[in-house]
Symmetry: C2
């Protein structure tokens, strides 16, 4: 068997550790030159495959590839681009196969969330239908932690750690100042559809009464009077109130709170931010001085405070993807299997792409406290291991030394250009 | 000479390293039991002195005091409370002297910004006028970096590091996604009156073209058409645009942009946040997909990514305050003197409180690039040393282990209660 080339693409929102997965994958592929030739990465994800814009990772030095392990975001570029169904846009799938054939690509590695695993599964089926020999391996990635079967998704543990650390630190600040200044602090975090990231804020709490005093989950409809009551209780009892709010909280009518009824003086819809909306509600009803923060991209890019566990899992899944491929597996995704909570013991397993595609793992209701404003012991048992350990990047001149790859293009071999659908 | 007690208070907005100053001060005081008896801290700052609510720091273990070095925010509580002038509210100054007399306090250490140094100076004068023997030492602290004479203020270097690291990380994220998603990212930082913190965002830039592409300073009136032109240029050239915006930017009429003309559907003023205002301006004029972050307290509480230089200076100034006091100095503030930029060599000096009180150090115009949107080489030379080095706190269960002191009260000795002015 002669070695064939591999294609790797990063998909969707990037994370602090998706490059660690790329690192594990490329380093492992390089150690099997008999099976895998070059690893080509898609420039801007799958769009790079469609447009035949491939990056030759074999032009990067071992040091540069090793540095991916501690570099956040997507080193080859990612994209938000969902391939349509096979019936709706067969041309795109055919194009992918054309590009793969032109570059002798025998391995397809797709690093993303549920949509991406669905795409991987469709590409598997397409390749089979045209008898193109292609090994398709999905690799999990998403800060949303919503892929099924796997214990967790790389990227989530580091966001969780960032949020827990930030909430703890901000709470120390607010506690210091509450006597004469800020009494209510609201931190808005990601998670439009599930409360996993908001829940991680609960890890900041060490003792009862510690911050956060309230967590607002997208799973629990926002009840303004109850919310205000709880804010007042916390301020009366602790002197201050720290709130972690998911960006995705909705009112009883199912509308996002960040969009409901907020327009500026010119009638423009206000652009995002549930934290300022909550701040206004608190200020008007209770009169407390408030502050709010919106972490936005900072939370998912914060490689400086990444979870060591998360980095190790991200790397291990990249390595496992190659190992599964050269072991002859197809249409699978390596996953994390939890063997025990404490100490946290995990191993790599695998799931079939058809089981993973388009299945969303919701946060179990039993992870949210009965009152809807906190996390349960079961949730804490699940989350706590995921933020364990620190894995600091190297620093230079006071700043993390992140790598910029050369990202040299593979010469094109096809004459036809291709325009992605949207 | 018998030992007399010391009073220490934290004032104004807290920082990631003000407790490192407390640590230096208390450890040094403990090593001079012949001169200094107990160190009493004001609970919630100067309010603790006015209300005779003193914390006996001698009840804390050496380990707990040592842990202050790596614990953010104000361990004894701080306050925003400015004593009025001697003429306007002599009663408050008399009360302070009464409390000090009752507890044999011979040393007054006030850890704060310009207002606090003004208060220290007034207390010096008051003590002299009633012949109460009191040594008054100010200790600098402010993330705003606006105290005169000293090279920098403890707290600033760590905010600067947080902002530079965060901008670099977020920029990697945006660069990964810009092809199909977010093209403009805005990070709002503190600094209502001076652009020091915004300027620190400029340190994230390594090569020309790197983020941040625009820095918006409060010193430069916001010019919407020019701003939009520059955003478009960056997106055309780099594919994306990262903006660091001071919370204090103003329009040509001198109004804060965060307050100008933004009301919600019910006519409520929108509560803070210049980043969403800028996002709307960009979206409406240029149509780019945007994201924005408001770091708020996270930036000044972020002990996990504190500058080692800042921590060392904060500690050294606390130690120096005690050393100046026992050397018989009065009405002075220890300061940082810069001996050289690179390598950064600094020493402790001193300034008289009368020179420091109510003098604000502005950012020099020559630190802002000619076009008003970036920092100059001179600014970089000044800022770069201040973020050098990492000083990680210890971790437990994936989270920084910050200390909660016992904060036991000193028994009251005065019969009269006292109500602070406001």
């Amino acid at each position: 068997m002669t070695a064939r080339n591999a294609f790797y693409a990063q998909s969707g929102g990037v994370t602090a550790v998706i490059n660690a997965t790329a690192c594990g994958l490329i380093e492992t592929a390089r150690s099997h030159p008999d099976k895998i030739g070059a690893v080509y990465a898609g420039r801007h994800g799958i769009i790079g495959a469609l447009t035949e814009d491939l990056i030759d990772t074999s032009r990067e030095s071992p040091d540069a590839i090793a540095a991916l392990r501690h570099t956040p975001a997507g080193a080859f570029g990612s994209c938000r681009y969902k391939l349509k169904g096979l019936e709706q846009n067969r041309a795109e799938y055919e194009r992918l196969i054309d590009v793969f054939r032109a570059h002798d690509i025998g391995y397809f590695f797709y690093n993303g969330g549920g949509d991406s695993q669905d795409t991987s599964w469709k590409i598997t089926q397409m390749a089979q239908s045209v008898s193109y020999p292609l090994t398709c391996i999905g690799i999990p990635k998403t800060v949303d932690n919503d892929l099924p079967i796997t214990d967790t998704c790389p990227g989530f543990g580091s966001v969780a750690k960032y949020v827990a650390v930030s909430v703890r630190e901000a709470a120390f600040d607010v506690a210091s100042m509450a006597k004469t200044s800020t009494k209510v602090f609201i931190m808005e975090v990601m998670g439009r559809h599930a409360g996993w990231i908001a829940a991680a804020g609960g890890l900041a709490q060490e003792h009862p009464g510690d911050a956060p005093h309230l967590i607002l989950f997208p799973e629990i409809p926002f009840d303004e009077p109850r919310f205000l009551e709880r804010v007042k209780e916390a301020v009366d009892r602790e002197g201050y109130c720290v709130i972690v709010a998911s960006e995705g909280i909705k009112n009883a009518a199912g509308e996002f709170l960040s969009e409901a009824g907020t327009r500026d003086a010119f009638g423009h819809a206000q652009l995002g931010g549930v934290a300022p909306v909550l701040a206004r509600i608190v200020k008007e009803a209770l009169g407390y001085k408030y502050h709010w923060a919106v972490a936005d991209y900072l939370q998912r890019a914060a490689r400086h405070i990444a979870s060591k566990t998360d980095v190790e899992q991200a790397y291990a899944l990249g390595r496992a993807a190659v190992e599964l491929a050269i072991a002859g597996k197809n249409a699978v995704m390596p996953i994390i299997i939890r063997k025990s909570d404490s100490p946290y013991v995990w191993a790599i397993g695998e799931a079939h792409l058809s089981e993973v595609a388009n299945v969303e793992k919701k946060m179990p209701r039993e992870y949210i406290g009965e009152d809807g404003y906190g996390i349960t012991a079961a949730c804490r048992r699940y989350l706590a291991p995921l933020i364990q350990g620190e894995d600091y990047p190297p620093y230079e001149n006071g700043l993390p030394r992140y790598v910029h790859l050369k990202n040299e293009a593979v010469p094109k071999r096809l004459t036809a250009a291709f325009q992605p659908a949207k």
